[in-house]
């Protein structure tokens, strides 16, 4: 009886662990003392932070990163929100200092045009080849 229970627990635990894998675990770098009292302002700060690259880790947003510079920038963004600056002004403040690279989503500009348009061109080429190939096989 004891053994059966043990086995059941083991299986149950394994299933739970397996299920957990399907849920993304959101880890945030935001410390409790950074959070603004005004919920609306805090939400704005979070939205901006999610779009700002952590220059040290490079593939993380400053919202997720615990790097000291990411924390400094999060606090800076919150201070600017409290000062009444709008989102554009805050983004401009950051790109003026760190360049467009600090934005996780590259802006649509002349020198990023290839980045935005090439995937569609490749898609069209791909579609063309698939249809071309299918046409050929129909003959047989």
């Amino acid at each position: 009886m004891v053994n059966k229970n043990f086995l059941f627990n083991k299986i149950f635990a394994s299933i739970i662990i397996c299920i957990i894998q399907f849920f993304p675990i959101n880890v945030y770098g935001v410390d409790p003392d950074e959070i603004l009292k005004n919920e609306k302002q805090e939400l704005r700060a979070r939205n901006i932070s999610e779009n700002i690259r952590c220059m040290i880790c490079q593939n993380q947003s400053i919202d997720e990163s615990n790097a000291p510079l990411a924390k400094d920038l999060r606090v800076l963004i919150r201070n600017q929100i409290k000062e009444g600056k709008n989102n554009e002004e805050i983004y401009k403040f950051l790109t003026d200092r760190y360049g467009d690279f600090i934005l996780l989503k590259p802006p649509l500009k002349f020198n990023t045009l290839a980045l935005w348009i090439l995937p569609f061109i490749f898609f069209i080429i791909g579609v063309f080849f698939v249809f071309y190939h299918n046409k050929k096989s129909e003959k047989f």
Partner: protein, 176 residues
Amino acid sequence: MKKQLLIIPLIFFLSILLIFFYLLIIDRNPSELPSALLNKKVPKFETMSLLEEEKFISSKVFGNKIQLVNFFATWCKPCRDEHDYIKRFSNEEGIDVIGVNYKDNEQKVLAWLKELGNPYSNIAIDKNGRIAIDWGVYGIPETFIINSKGIIKYRHVGPITQKIYKKINLIINEIE
């Protein structure tokens, strides 16, 4: 005609390979980013000076001659590694080197400079890292070349090595 078309993906694939190979062999550090401040004026700031009684006022310090600005801290190991080169810039090349001390302790800096030697003509104290943000600094040590009009001409991220030392000297000679 149809058979000839099939060669397109192959050419395409080979050209991609060629691009990758080119990026692999050229001398390039992908983690090093160009500064957004290149060819712009030095950011304005005022702070305490570590070496002098007077305040450090950027508009008074920059814009008279070619200068190097070096962001450093005593807790940063690569800063210690590059310190010999910073000294060579000021002693051998006679370049005015301004230090910005990043998130550090004044007593520790003074002891550090006593131990390793002081190449800096003036040191701005950046206690909370706010000045560094205005300069777009993301990983110290970082070194900037400023021309005689107070305009940023070059930025190097990371410690100065023999190669970078030569490169910076070359750039300084060019802008002179």
